[in-house]
């Protein structure tokens, strides 16, 4: 695809690495927030090529990974009800809940369907007026506009059989939660490029100023990441703390106003629990106003569910960036993409899955 291949040029990558080596004079810990960025860093082995001292800390940028366990259990409960067609993005199917996952519901005869776009769920609802169609709306700000449009369409079409199980999360509150943690070592952030394509980056300016951390809006290709890291390191070396935009070809400071308007019409900000991290105030979205009619939690009255995490899983530490998957005693032994103990091993953007699929082993890490 155009505007992708050019950003994978090995020669330019080598030059960026050379420039990084020339500029970095002391160790810095930089967090990339988006799971897609983590995936590229690990799959291409970029994090292992960075100059010694530049440490990439993988952040909670995987919405599948941070979906609360209780929400997964509610999804499993709803999907198991007779007459329900439960629709979801593919990754959520294998996230382990307390007693099982959505794929297990499907294997036992539940009607669980993977959709690429939330509009597909609306179409299914229109085609099956006799069935309850539920869509699992998980994601950061990037998918919120799409999910908002789905609700608007369903509302306009009067689809009373459509509902949404909402578990949206927002990035800036997660960044401040990381910065507020007493043991935080992260000194700069690579902000998620596509989140910012929607939201712009004005929200990050007060964070950079208050905490004195450089924040660089970065894309997803190898050259984007290397350039974003270089821009962050240059700021760190010169004592600057500004918001910069590496991903200028896709991101404008004010973002996408039409998308933001749709989100503001359908959703409102609320506190959310992040799996592995805990509750963060004003860090999520829920349906607002008249659209609360489409809320699946209310419609299905799932009530409170007793949740139980696997005790060996260290997803919380992984998502906060204080540990890496190779630190985990279950990694590759009892926890694999097929038998995941926690969410980061399931999603293609989860840190544990990224490490696993790149073949990282504990002994490999020790050698470097």
């Amino acid at each position: 695809m155009k505007y992708l291949a050019e950003y994978r040029d090995p020669e330019l990558a080598r030059r960026l690495l050379g420039e990084l080596r020339a500029v970095a004079t002391q160790p810095w810990a930089i967090m990339e927030v988006c799971g897609g960025q983590t995936h590229t860093l690990v799959r291409q082995g970029i994090d292992e090529l960075l100059p010694a001292g530049i440490r990439m800390v993988h952040g909670p940028g995987c919405p599948v990974c941070v979906t609360p366990l209780e929400m997964v259990d509610k999804a499993v409960a709803i999907a198991g009800r007779p007459g329900v067609i439960f629709t979801s993005y593919g990754d959520m199917l294998r996230v382990p809940g307390t007693t099982g996952d959505l794929l297990g519901v499907k294997a036992r005869g539940g009607d669980v369907r993977v959709v690429y776009s939330p509009l597909e769920a609306v179409r299914i609802a229109a085609e099956h007026p006799d069935r309850q169609v539920v869509f699992f709306a998980v994601g950061f700000e990037t998918t919120a506009p799409a999910n908002a449009m789905a609700v608007l369409r369903a509302s306009r079409a009067g689809l009373a059989n459509f509902s949404m199980l909402v578990s949206h999360v927002l990035v800036p509150p997660a960044i401040t939660a990381i910065l507020d943690a007493p043991d935080n070592e992260v000194r700069a952030f690579l902000a998620a490029g596509h989140v910012c394509a929607v939201m712009g980056f004005t929200e990050y300016e007060p964070i950079a100023a208050r905490y004195r951390v450089p924040i660089v809006v970065t894309g997803f290709e190898p050259l984007d990441l290397l350039e974003g890291i270089l821009m962050a390191v240059r700021q760190l070396e010169t004592g600057r703390a500004a918001v910069e935009n590496q991903y200028a070809r896709a991101v404008r400071r004010s973002g996408n106003p039409a998308a933001q308007a749709a989100v503001a019409e359908v959703f409102e900000v609320t506190g959310r629990a992040w799996r592995g991290i805990g509750p963060i105030p004003a860090s999520g979205l829920r349906l607002a106003g008249a659209f609360t009619d489409f809320d699946a939690e209310t419609r299905f009255a799932t009530g409170t569910i007793a949740v139980r995490e696997n005790p060996e899983c260290i997803a919380g530490a992984i998502l906060r960036g204080t540990k890496v998957p190779t630190d985990c005693t279950a990694y590759r032994v009892r926890c694999t993409p097929r038998t995941p103990l926690g969410a980061p091993m399931v999603s293609s953007e989860g840190t544990c899955a990224a490490y696993h699929n790149a073949g990282r082993r504990p002994s490999t890490v020790e050698e470097s």
């Binding site: 695809m1 155009k2 505007y3 992708l4 050019e6 020669e11 330019l12 080598r14 030059r15 960026l16 050379g18 420039e19 080596r21 020339a22 500029v23 993005y89 690429y116 776009s117 939330p118 509009l119 597909e120 990037t142 998918t143 506009p145 799409a146 449009m149 608007l152 369409r153 596509h194 394509a197 929607v198 050259l223 350039e227 240059r234 590496q246 200028a248 070809r249 896709a250 991101v251 404008r252 996408n256 039409a258 998308a259 749709a262």
Partner: protein
């Protein structure tokens, strides 16, 4: 592209992803026209690619000193 005149939120187009095509909702990129490059996410175009900026980024990267030059020492680095 299909643009029903009175329903801008129903605006859709066919996007070509390097030989793979799909119908994409263009409601959030009202400025997108045929021939433009867009970033697509779960079936929605969320932004139009600014080709001038793309060219500028690549030009900056290509202007960086070659690998050999940077190995000669910090004095050789352009910045």
């Amino acid at each position: 592209m299909e643009v029903p005149a009175d329903r801008p939120d129903l605006r859709t187009g066919t996007v070509d992803f390097g030989g793979v095509r799909r119908t994409v909702c263009l409601a959030y990129t009202p400025e997108a026209g045929v021939g433009d490059y867009v970033i697509v996410h779960v079936g929605f175009a969320i932004t139009v690619v600014d080709e001038d900026e793309a060219a500028r980024t690549l030009a900056v990267l290509r202007a960086m000193p070659g690998a050999l030059e940077t190995e000669l020492g910090p004095a050789a680095s352009a910045s």
